[in-house]
Symmetry: C2
């Protein structure tokens, strides 16, 4: 079969003919139909991720067929029994275990769920990592409920977009930020109550005036802009952090945090129960992930370049035929 394999850090992946995987007794063989790229894959390709083994097939998000049944793969391996944190054996599909950028994959039978029937293969492939991360951020950590004022930063990102859809479906009033007016316009078309371009001076004062602060903020950027998000936290607000694309937080004022009784809550991935709850929520509310672009596995360098393109809005997906 063909697959995208990491042979050397910080070089393009290799599209190679490799051996078909043999499922062990508790595994099943999935013929992959679509996969999706996450930031994790970019970092692994660049060599800046813990525990990288070369000669590994990348890819954490995958959907495919077992005989005629369309399935979606839970990318958690060994989360364990503690809902708060993963076990020491935890890993994510696609490193060090072979991943989904391939024609076939052998995965644990208990990793398999029916694909939500309202979604195409490409749309469903956009769900696993992003949906799990967004679900835990919005509900388990963020305690999002109907009527909450919610701010999702960086609405071009695919986790942000799923967090947006989840909060919206839960009945929250969802605001967004972006550095791009075009992306803000798209988010307003998706039903955002308001949006702000965070490159405009005093954007946080304007949005504070509209909202009196937020009950929940979901952020994956960090960086110097994080202090604005802390300022935008309402009384008792929760700020959920699941990424650091802009690096270290600027200096923060503890007084702002304790006087408003704010919580800053780190989250990453989620439990198997959260994965199933996420799929149920997606089915119930007919959530459709935003697809930015679709590529063949052979076009992997184009796909990775698109992933890094600032104009991207949504998920970069591989169609596997």
């Amino acid at each position: 079969m063909n697959a995208l394999i990491l042979i050397k850090k910080n070089t393009p992946l290799n599209y190679l003919d490799t051996d078909m995987p043999y499922p062990s007794a508790n595994q099943v063989l999935v013929q992959l139909k679509a996969a999706a790229i996450n930031h994790r894959d970019l970092w692994i390709r660049k060599g800046i991720y813990p525990r990288i083994d070369v000669y590994t097939i990348l890819g954490s998000d995958g959907v495919g067929l077992i005989n005629d049944q369309a399935v979606i793969i839970n990318p958690n391996i060994n989360w364990g029994n503690n809902p708060t944190v993963p076990s020491s054996d935890y890993s994510i599909l696609g490193m060090p275990e072979d991943g989904t950028f391939a024609e076939y994959i052998a995965v644990g039978k208990d990793r398999i769920h029916p694909i939500p029937t309202h979604l195409s293969y490409e749309q469903a492939a956009a769900l696993p990592l992003g949906g799990l991360t967004a679900y835990r951020a919005v509900f388990t950590k963020g305690l999002c409920k109907s009527g909450d004022k919610v701010l999702i930063s960086g609405i071009g990102g695919s986790v942000a977009q799923l967090a947006f859809r989840f909060a919206q479906a839960a009945g929250a009033k969802v605001y967004v930020t972006s550095s791009s007016d075009e992306k803000l316009e798209k988010a307003l078309q998706m039903g955002a109550v308001g949006g702000a371009n965070y490159t405009v001076q005093h954007w946080d004062k304007d949005i504070w005036a509209q909202t009196d602060g937020f009950d929940l903020i979901v952020d994956s950027a960090g960086g110097t802009g994080f202090k604005d998000l802390v300022r935008l936290g309402g009384l008792g607000g929760r700020i959920v952090v699941h990424g650091n694309t802009d690096g270290y937080f600027a200096k923060l004022n503890p007084q702002t945090i304790f006087s408003k009784q704010l919580s800053i809550l780190g989250t990453s991935m989620g439990t198997d129960a959260e994965f199933e709850a996420m799929l149920d929520f997606v089915r119930q509310h007919k959530i459709v992930p935003v697809i930015d672009s679709v590529f063949a596995l052979e076009e992997h360098e184009k796909a990775f370049a698109r992933m890094r393109n600032k104009e991207r809005f949504g998920k970069v997906v591989f169609k596997i035929e």
Copy 2:
């Protein structure tokens, strides 16, 4: 009656003869026997606190007598019904309402609780603000339970000492930090499992080696040292923040926060229910606050100077006769 009155910001308080308070229908007159100084009083005296009215009697912590009954005063005024945050009418006794640095005070009847019988007036006067803050930090926000590894920073402070006693009584293994070896020694005598002087290089690495990180950290300093506390957070750890004596946090790495699923939880004061639960806990576990020194109201400048003295270990209390 005599009382300590703020007449002008950033000048000494005035010990003056003033009118006896008249209790309204839902109030009761308390003959004060002891009061205690909080950082809040220092800040009000310096003029760096919101909503300062001059010609106000300061003091939030007070115990005294109603006829022959010894009582302790809940310093919350109008917290309201939401346990997460206080209402917009909330204030703390001692500004803008007249406080406890006086011979008498009129307070709401529902602010009055029996004094824990194992405590002297001076010891009980050390409880209200510090005990309420520490109780909410350790239990409501920090979810402290038996067996947890807990770190209390700056063990010279009186909230820190109550947080220490509460966590210890709950069955946690409590470690402490200080800039003073003498204070660390006192904390070890109080039953601390371990301690570290945070002015010593690599102190955090040594304590990490002993503990593998903490389930709960309680901090009132912030400042550049806060990044060490984030590093010392264990998987799923909670870091509760209730002060900022060292100013803004240093830059923090979001990756440390989300990869360990850490929570940074701001807290300030607490509900009436938490105040009652705190008193019950103090009674049940025979908690005794540490008293640093006792002064007469007339000696207020000496008392305030002691409050600012780096050697202070525990509460500075006024005995009122």
